[in-house]
């Protein structure tokens, strides 16, 4: 992984690819790479859909190696949804393929000329860019159907659906899974619109001629990776809970805690939660022909938290919808039918939409009276409106904040223009701090790496202190920024939380891959460096402390059943970036 591919979409005669050594970006991968490039090369005050913005696609540092669960791929740019710097990552097969071909990053840059749409094909022989107007306005599954006869099913495809082509602020970039379905998405922040603005419909990556990346110290690598795998397999969450139930195992728990945002964040419990729980979902998948509750989103993942969801007759409906998707389209909209939610998940993937943003937007539209809460057919129709780009669809496709503005509503559950995920910050205030202060807009994964205690980010923090939500959030955000750079799935963090030896095995796996002697301190330093770059970019783009806030109604309107409000002082929020 020692080269960068730049595609100048404004070159005379059509997009032109050039390859260059990794140079100053050496040592960066995943989010570290995307943030470094955007920070260095994109003017913070540019328009996200203008020629000055760049789209950076980067596999993690460990992607393409034999390290377990290391197939995350990051996409970065200035976000059309939030106006901030953006990193969004996904599993699927893309990261492994790009990394095996030696690419540390692909950078789409320049100003699109004309209306032609292009397909990029990358293999071990080089890069080919073809005009592909026949692919215009194809949704993702239809696109894959067109590409299959040409390229086979063993390639990886990174693509946008119709939402990205229409440059909607809610538009994702899809990555194909091992079954060659476009189910894994860099969802957040409207990254698909930036790819659309560059006129690139898809990138086909054929790594057939490439081999797994070799570690610098192969024997030691093998040993540490083995310990890492044992740690993941032996832990209750990564070895049992996630493979059995998927992430949707959280539905019952958040509902029980009164932190399950229901009816556009009006209530904290959904009375029909058991109908859409992970337990029910796993039952459906086990009982139905073709259903698969335990499945890896990329080869080499030991956690296997994804799945395949079929209907009662055994027909493919979608990938197993994740917790955030089940919540956003389910309890948040008053819909308690898993088959309907799977249909909505499929349509989101098909048109290329972020499921969190789309579900929250529908919730806002329901509160606005566009359709009723619980109207499953109406919700499906709204996603079709977005995918087809009708006038209403254009409003909804611009996200929850824009939709609320268009309907004259205060109740837009967003921070920096991005929809809040599936945890009400009034019940779980520590998460609210991360929502408010993340460089990415409201993002649950921004502070997801529950490794802060092991890493000792910020020293030995006493968890019994009564104050210090900001301190915990800061430490989590630092840890997450570092982990997002490795290509390891964030879910490895659960095993690391409890098992120091698993963390050690993970760090050693990285060290043996690159021939380094990195310590936990170095990991912390990397996380801090990434966050500082992101923060500085945002400040130059016009963001300050006033933007690091939850909407005021979260501090004013108590949430049942606990009747709590978000009351973390502004001063504490402002202290998150004191490092």
């Amino acid at each position: 992984m020692d080269k960068i591919l730049r595609i100048d979409v404004g070159a005379p005669g059509g997009p032109k690819a050039t390859q260059e050594p990794i140079g100053d970006y050496a040592g960066m991968g995943g989010r570290g790479m995307t943030t470094s490039v955007v920070y260095k090369e994109v003017p913070p005050d540019c328009h996200p859909l203008g020629p000055e913005n760049k789209l950076v696609i980067a596999p993690g540092l460990m992607s393409g190696s034999a390290a377990s669960s290391s197939g995350r791929m990051s996409v970065g740019c200035k976000s059309p949804l939030s106006g901030t710097i953006k990193e969004s990552n996904a599993g699927g097969t893309g990261a492994q393929a790009l990394a095996r071909l030696g690419y540390a990053a692909i950078i789409l840059e320049g100003e699109r000329q004309g209306d032609d749409l292009y397909k990029v094909v990358i293999n071990d022989q080089g890069v080919n860019i073809e005009k592909a107007n026949e692919l215009k306005m194809l949704a993702n599954y239809d696109l894959i159907d067109q590409l299959r006869p040409v390229h086979g099913e063993k390639v990886s495809v990174i693509s946008i659906g119709t939402a990205g082509e229409m440059r909607m602020s809610n538009s994702s970039i899809a990555v194909t899974d091992p079954e060659f379905r476009p189910t894994r998405h860099c969802g957040r922040g409207g990254v698909g619109a930036v790819m659309g603005s560059k006129g690139i419909k898809c990138i086909v990556v054929d790594a057939a001629g490439a081999k797994t990346r070799k570690p610098v110290r192969p024997d030691e690598f093998k040993e540490s990776n083995k310990k890492f795998v044992e740690g993941l397999k032996g832990h209750a969450v990564t070895g049992q809970g996630l493979p059995t139930y998927g992430t949707n195992v959280l539905t019952n728990i958040l509902n029980e805690a009164g932190g399950y945002p229901t009816y556009n964040f009006r209530e904290g419990r959904y009375k029909h939660a058991q109908n859409i729980s992970g337990e029910q979902q796993a039952e459906n998948m086990k009982a139905r022909e073709g259903g698969q509750p335990t499945h890896g989103c990329h080869r080499g993942c030991i956690i296997q938290c994804s799945g395949i969801y079929t209907d009662k007759d055994g027909n493919y409906m979608s990938k197993q919808p994740e917790y955030e998707t089940v919540w956003s389209h389910g309890g948040n909209c008053g819909i308690d039918d898993l088959d309907v939610i799977a249909r909505l998940d499929y349509l989101d993937d098909h048109y290329g939409l972020d499921t969190i943003e789309m579900g929250v937007t529908i919730g806002v539209a329901m509160e606005a009276g566009v359709i009723e809460f619980g109207d499953a057919e109406g919700a499906i129709n709204l996603v079709h409106e977005v995918g087809k780009g009708t006038p209403l669809g254009r409003i909804l496709g611009a996200g929850a904040a824009t939709t609320a503005r268009c309907y004259g509503m205060e109740h837009a559950p967003v921070v920096k223009g991005q929809a809040l995920p599936a945890y009400d910050p009034r019940s779980v205030k520590g998460i609210g701090v991360t929502y408010a202060t993340s460089t990415q807009g409201a993002d649950h994964t921004a502070g997801y790496a529950v490794t802060a205690n092991i890493l000792k980010v910020g020293g030995d923090v006493d968890p019994m202190q009564t104050s210090g939500q900001a301190e915990l959030s800061r430490n989590l955000q630092v840890a997450t920024a570092a982990l997002d750079s490795t290509g390891f799935c964030l879910f490895v963090a659960f095993a690391i939380l409890d098992q120091g030896e698993t963390f050690e095995a993970m760090v050693q796996t990285i060290n043996h891959m690159y021939g380094l002697e990195m310590t936990g301190d170095d990991v912390v330093a990397l996380g801090q460096k990434i966050l500082k770059m992101e923060r500085e970019f945002n400040e130059k783009a016009g963001f300050g402390p006033a933007h690091d806030r939850l909407p005021r109604y979260f501090s004013r309107e108590p949430l049942a059943p606990h009747n709590v409000v978000f009351d973390v002082p502004d001063k504490e929020l402002d202290s998150v970036y004191n490092f």
Partner: protein
């Protein structure tokens, strides 16, 4: 972890006047899906959560400490099961360790518990005395994920109070495999046939019933 417990003698001699359905089923974990939606359970007197789990249900020791990682009492996250009190009308939920930051946050006495301090069960609340300490009462229980699978046998052995309609609905949604493990049905003391591996002919009265399930080796 798989829980192999000693099944304590059912403590609920008083079935609260409800119709009693007794099943002999060799795979009680196959009832776990219905236990996530909640059931009632009679409790003879106010006690700590640890006492309830260990003395009344039979969940003691390593399983309690290692596997019951997420517990809610009336929606509040529980850290100390000796301080948490089982009182009339309370709602108890038991779960394994959960993924995600919020999963880590909700864990018993976990490193990140400060992040949910607004909904944690405080010891101050729990030390209040209760005037009904010696009267029997019922509580609502929900068993989630792997905990439901692991502990279904113990709770069902004790006996639970469940809606007749919901139980019939549950039986109707079961695959054939479920009925192959069903060996005997006794309703109000009378044996009923298991016809063609289904329970379609089972007619239960409206309202609540008391359900007890025993498995072969634990009779």
């Amino acid at each position: 972890m798989t829980y192999t417990a000693r099944y304590p003698e059912p403590c609920n001699k008083d079935m609260q006047g409800l119709p009693v359905l007794m099943l002999k089923h060799d795979a009680p974990e196959q009832f776990s899906l219905m236990l996530q939606q909640g059931f009632f359970m009679p409790v003879p007197k106010v006690c700590s959560l640890r006492e309830f789990l260990c003395k009344l249900v039979g969940v003691c020791g390593v399983y309690t400490e290692k596997s019951l990682q997420t517990i809610f009492l009336d929606g509040s996250a529980v850290d100390d099961i000796d301080q948490a009190m089982i009182r009339p009308g309370c709602r108890l939920a038991l779960s394994a360790a959960m993924p995600g930051l919020v999963g880590a946050t909700m864990r018993r006495d976990g490193y990140f518990k400060r992040m949910r301090e607004g909904i944690s069960l405080s010891s101050r609340q729990e030390k209040e005395t209760d005037s009904q300490q010696d009267k029997s009462f019922r509580i609502q229980v929900r068993l989630y994920n792997a905990v439901g699978r692991d502990l279904a046998g113990l709770f069902l052995h004790q006996g639970i109070i469940f809606s007749s309609n919901d139980l019939i609905h549950f039986f109707k949604s079961r695959p054939d495999q479920f009925f192959s493990e069903l060996k005997n049905i006794k309703f109000q003391g009378k044996d009923l046939p298991v016809v063609q591996n289904r329970l379609d002919s089972l007619i239960l009265p409206e309202g609540e019933i008391f359900l007890r399930v025993v498995s072969g080796e634990k009779e």
